[in-house]
Symmetry: C2
Subunit: 194 residues, 2 copies
């Protein structure tokens, strides 16, 4: 495993998505692999951790996920903003060399036959929970998180440390038309004293 | 309507949630109204706009939404961090005067029999699309957005303006244990020149 990557306990995995970052979906089937960007992914449950992600009928990733039954949701960083926009704009349908042209580097995690994107801050390996009605009617896919990892320079001991980490490790939050926000200032409420 | 509140065209409504803010859900049925906080809400479609929200079986809001078939998703601000934590911690089941004790002020929007929370930056009036299997199995509710509004001091002409608005109008992004992040710096990619 990479030097800065550490496993995240599954009961803390929801925290990797709780703040609503734009994510990358990666998948592989029968020798074809792809990476796409998506703003519409969301935690769904704590234990076992589950999440939802919207995969439009015109994206190549959808068939890869349906056919392999597995996928990775990962959290790209400010340093990856151009890569994120690129994989969200270029389709593997139009460009069979998309990943190369988008400068996406992939790596493997032991025990998971899945393509993981280098340079992200967090990775969630997911097993598709087939729900044909949701998939067909709403393009809505549900995954159970079966493995989670984070870059310890920005997430450790169950918490993000955006406030002290290098700003290029912050998460991206997409609006539209090439316009993003980075995650910002930390704010705390003493919940024992409300 | 309030001075700073303007309607958002429905085809731009997804942008109010696209950056993954923590939201407040409000609802009303048979004279009972409630407001709760949730991190697990997400855009689902553009046109007509739809969204998902997770409503646990132990929250009072769930019955109000199921019985009335309508609800509001609204985006609280940094100025409302304590209110957000409070309505996420106190249950109407335990405290019938929850809204008063949480200092929640509600207002009405013409044409919508729904309670809207004062001081938020955006509001999405939703009609429940009943999906009993999702609701029962995953606590997952789907709504069609039938009305959208935003505070023009921070969202106008289809775009958030966090970078120029008062910082207290920024969105909140919850992690866990009273720890939030505000939305941060604006970042742009020229998508015509990737």
């Amino acid at each position: 495993m990479h030097e800065h990557i550490a496993a995240v306990p599954l009961d803390k995995a929801y925290r990797l998505l709780n703040h609503g970052p734009t994510i990358l979906v990666s998948s592989r089937h029968a020798g074809v692999q792809n990476v796409m960007a998506a703003a519409w992914a969301c935690a769904l449950d704590f234990d076992p951790p589950k999440l939802t992600v919207v995969l439009d009928k015109n994206v190549k990733t959808r068939a890869l996920v349906e056919n392999s039954g597995v996928f990775v949701i990962q959290v790209p960083t400010v340093a990856q903003i151009r890569l994120t926009s690129l994989v969200g704009s270029v389709s593997l349908v139009d460009d069979p060399h998309k990943l190369e042209h988008c400068a996406v580097q992939l790596f493997e995690m032991p025990g998971h036959d899945l393509p993981f994107v280098e340079g992200c801050s967090a990775w969630l390996a997911c097993k598709l929970i087939p729900e044909p009605h949701n998939q067909q009617t709403y393009d809505l896919f549900i995954g159970e998180v079966v493995g989670a990892w984070a870059d310890t320079r920005v997430f450790s001991e169950g918490h993000w440390h955006f406030e002290t980490a290098d700003p290029t490790l912050r998460s991206l939050h997409y609006i539209a038309g090439g316009h993003y926000y980075a995650i910002g200032q930390a704010l705390d409420v003493d919940e024992s004293n409300l």
